[in-house]
């Protein structure tokens, strides 16, 4: 038995591009391209990157909400990639998701009580009386008044809705929660409340999180280790401290330097990346980042760099750090 709760090996998702009256496949959008990482029990793994880098697609594949084109997902050492519907449903009790948009991820026709107890019903756990008790407990756990169970989602604010989504994800006592931009739609003061709540719940229920976000400071707050993605590829993985202090990949460096700091007295050296994100349907040859990289070399245009362990636990995929 490995001590990794989740292992992702060479995971890939290619979406076909279809053209013409016969819907012929003329190419592929490589949304996720050979991504590998491992997650220990009880840790929070932050997944960052800009829009279109494949972070959400990766999150969805882990729950098999999207079918991977290639690669393996191992949960508690077991390969779940080929699991059928029945087996997958069983394992999903352990894998839950929190979505970005608290306005779109709750059914407006269901009461809060129904929303939170739905997973219990689907998995036929507990009788009606017990379920009621569970809902009460869950709502209180996430800081909502349990008398609100008869209310509908539209009666709640964004932050409260996100709490409802969290209560629903917790209902089955999962081991792993994939949180896809859970606080991006929230105001600063509410964002802080939800981030703290997630941290408290992690301690209370020994949860493991995959925290997907584009906001680097939020990811820093909550994560133990962080993976940085660019154009469907993992460019750097490292423990939080070493990533934020010593970013190795030029993309990570640029990304960190681009974040505006709420302190007018700090003047930072900013690396402004030129150009736009290339299309994942037609990624550049060699290193995907090379057309925008300030440190580009000849080899970068030809050879795709491997993800190597440059320092202990600090992985980077860049020719500046070649093993030789």
């Amino acid at each position: 038995m490995t001590h990794y709760l989740l292992e992702v090996q060479n995971l890939a998702k290619y979406f076909p591009i279809k053209r013409g009256i016969f819907r012929r496949t003329v190419g592929f959008v490589k949304a996720v391209d050979q991504v590998s990482f491992r997650i220990k029990k009880g840790e929070t793994f932050g997944l960052v990157g800009e829009s279109g880098c494949g972070k959400s697609t990766t999150g969805r594949m882990i729950l098999r909400l999207l079918e991977p084109t290639d690669g393996k997902i191992l949960f508690e050492g077991e390969d779940i990639t080929q699991y059928g519907k029945k087996k997958m449903r069983k394992i999903r009790r352990n894998l839950q998701m929190i979505f970005q948009d608290p306005y779109a991820s709750l059914n407006p026709q269901m009461t809060v009580g129904q929303i939170v107890s739905e997973p219990l019903k689907v998995h036929r756990l507990y009788d009606a009386e017990e379920q009621k008790e569970m809902v009460k407990e869950l709502l209180e756990t996430v800081g909502l008044n349990h008398h609100w169970r008869e209310r509908y989602p539209h009666e709640f604010s964004g932050g409260q809705r996100q709490r409802i989504g969290i209560a629903r994800a917790l209902a089955l006592r999962p081991k792993l929660i994939v949180a896809d931009e859970p606080v991006s739609a929230l105001d600063v003061s509410i964002q802080a409340q939800v981030v703290n709540l997630l941290a408290d719940l992690q301690e209370k229920f020994q949860l493991t999180y995959i925290f997907i976000a584009h906001d680097l400071s939020v990811v820093k707050q909550i994560s133990d280790r962080v993976g940085v993605m660019y154009l469907g590829r993992m460019v750097e993985i490292a423990p939080k401290k070493s990533l934020y202090r010593n970013p190795r990949h030029p993309y990570t460096e640029a990304l960190l330097s681009a974040v505006p700091i709420p302190n007018p007295q700090v003047k930072r050296e900013r690396i402004i990346l030129q150009g736009e994100l290339p299309s994942p349907a037609n990624p550049p040859k060699g290193c995907a980042f090379h057309p925008r990289c300030p440190k580009v070399m000849k080899i970068c245009k030809e050879v795709r760099p491997e993800l190597i362990e440059w320092e202990e636990e600090h992985f980077v995929s860049c020719h500046l750090y070649s093993p030789s």
């Binding site: 600063v188 505006p260 736009e276």
Partner: protein
Amino acid sequence: MSGWILEVKNLRTEFLTEDGAIPAVDGITWRLNRGETLALVGESGCGKSVTSLSIMGLLPEHGRIATGEILLGGKDLCKNSETEWMKVRGNEIAMIFQEPMTSLNPVLSIGEQMTEGLRKHRKMSRQKADQEAIKALELVGFPRAKEMMKEYPHQLSGGMRQRVMIAMAMVMNPKVLIADEPTTALDVTIQAQILELMRKVKEDLETSILLITHDLGVVAEMADRVVVMYAGQIVEEADVKELFLHPSHPYTDGLLKAVPSLEEEQTRLYSISGTVPLMSDLPTGCRFAPRCQRVMEKCLQAEPKLFQVHENHYARCFLYENPFEGDKR
């Protein structure tokens, strides 16, 4: 040279609902200096965007300016007819919106959209307008500006669209540029490009910018002066350095502490308890009192006015009722 270019005086904007007229902006006053960037900061529902829509005369049908004045070069915009508005919009005041996807017309080429204002307001010939537009596109960093004139918005990425919006706003050389969450929909590396560009444009053309945002990082980087809004009111106003160094209103203080830091290690984020009150159901006394950690008896009974905290620094809080007393530095 007179300093103020745009002045908002005691502005109250209301929305008509089933429960009567509910204010979204409730008596705010501020001035925008020539060549200055003034930031309006606050969380959703605080009235910052409604303020900008009031200035542009773009309020939806059920919205109206109840009282107050909006003075542009001494002229009250509130008294404008729709035709007079047309002359102001895009010409004297230009606006960039949050969503560059929806604020560009998808069926018109970039060139047509870029030159519309020049031809209408300035009565330029097509050729002359095209030249101006190409110059503006080059200014915002498009090397192939000429070809771009024939392209359509869907051919551009989000960051490129926002740059087109800026070019479009700047081509008219407006006195005031209102930027309503200009980078919120963009990725950080693209945000950095756009902020850099806005700074350059401001310096080159000496435009005054009204920046509306919720992002305190963007404020720290771009603004000269900051107005913090809460529940339709101004709760604090100060120069940018002063505000970040000595946040005085407990709300501003809490907001600054609630932002996760890239530089420091925090084990736990500070959070302001509770939520923003509904404008239809405001608490008596100070609007922030139910969430305030330093709440006093008085706060629950009377509404504080803006007290002076320090030079050019005001806060709507009873802690500063006696001038300079609450200011511990």
